[in-house]
Symmetry: D2
Subunit: 156 residues, 4 copies
């Protein structure tokens, strides 16, 4: 299976490889821009999994979901069919009920797309914000990439 | 909002227009074949809606879902960006717990893709087959396109 | 076919209806956030079409594409299966080689998602920025919604 | 990166792992059926890549595309968020200008979806059928899984 392929240490905490298939491209011959949000989510999901966070278990047992509340993405250069990308991810801010990720899609040394994704923790039934389970926030705080950023833990 | 644009009478019971956007295409410059399944589903959904069947209500109040159990599609000619397609739909077989649709994607007189889609009625909690609610089967039986096909009502 | 369903005059120049289908939702029971970018693009495309801009013709005859260079979206409330949304669109800035749109997804009076989308005009072969064809910028300048915003025409 | 995780020898020639993400699911809580076509295509693509076939190179240098001309899929049991699936693939028939694949999506020993996918080789400019390049058909003929099936090479 996929494995995080390397760690950048100071800059980004987790790298995840993504191969570009036909399904990801559009008639312009390049990756359809909305699909970078899928790539970014796959990388966040695998990061959480690598940290021991079981999203489906959280949903089924605690009724807790992570939902994206804000995205901001810059598209700098196109990716094409068969390209092998790396999604580099870093936590920008760890709040009480949300996490903000900085993420980049790279091909070799070139950053093709870069963005910040804010994910909130909500109760499934009401979709209202709830505090991150301590199992999650503790797991994220243990990530080395986090502290090397001098990231501060803040509220909200 | 969209309206069914015409009825073919003898051949097909319900027509629904679909515009091709970038999101539907791939790097080959044509509509990605998996997306015809989306187009077909939009048309089935709108047909059910036109018949007075409220799928979300069925799910929330009766715990009943429609799930696709079988698809067979032939791709004959490509659709391209900005094409205006018509999805023509007909019921092939109305079973006790399933419905089989014949559907075509057309551009003008040209059939681009044609297929049959079998949809089963299941209980959401268990995903086990249950009989179609009579409100649904009665509504489908009232559809004129159905009987002009000499369609027989069968079991399963 | 779909028709713009109303115009808000002062606030938004173009409204486009979108129905939510299964394909748009995810296991959280709500519309998958990346799909709002598809909804927004459908609305922009239809606005351009309503203005007489033929994107496929531009691509085939002039080798000119519109590509999204930046997106920023806030997700405020979830949309669900069968919801009927309206995508309201307005031009924020008309540059020499780019257009910035403000767009909202609404259900009734509730804004579910709101964002700004920057679209650049590029040469297909090189994906390098080129000036908007005058046929496009003239058509957009004629849009009443534009000037009621006191929108200024700027460069870049 | 992903690696084929094992070979079934007699039954299937190539296995490829697929993780289920939110993007793959729908409001029914299960994988949206159209997405199995994407999973199947990823597995075929990786098989071709493992055989040394470079699809993008073929497109750019020889103007040759592979297009899906027919799909038939049975959906037997649902896949859910976070499931780890294996896509097992086998060549059913190797024609002069087309290849027919048998493919299954499995979770452990359970077959969730099974189908046959017919892929044609076409000239990009015209989308008309052309013979498979010998580099492709030779590579596929070398695959052991093929011959263990007693698969015969046929025309068309």
């Amino acid at each position: 299976m996929n494995q995080p392929i390397h760690r950048c240490g100071v800059q980004f905490g987790f790298d995840w490889p993504i191969r570009v298939y036909y399904e990801d491209t559009d008639a312009g011959g390049i990756v359809f821009y909305a699909n970078y949000l899928k790539f970014f989510e796959r990388a966040r999901t695998e990061w959480l999994r690598a940290c021991g966070v079981d999203q489906r278990g959280l949903a089924e047992q605690s009724g807790i979901l992570f939902v994206v509340s804000e995205t901001a993405v810059q598209y700098r250069a196109p990716a094409r069919l068969d390209d092998l990308l790396v999604i580099a991810s870093r936590i920008e801010r760890l709040g009480k009920a949300s996490v903000e990720f900085a993420q980049e899609a790279r091909r070799g040394d070139v950053v093709l797309a870069a963005g910040t994704i804010r994910v909130g923790c909500v109760e499934h039934a009401t979709l209202r914000p709830v505090a991150l389970p301590s199992s999650v926030s503790d797991a994220l705080r243990r990530e080395p990439g986090l502290f090397q950023q001098g990231m501060s833990t803040t509220t909200a």
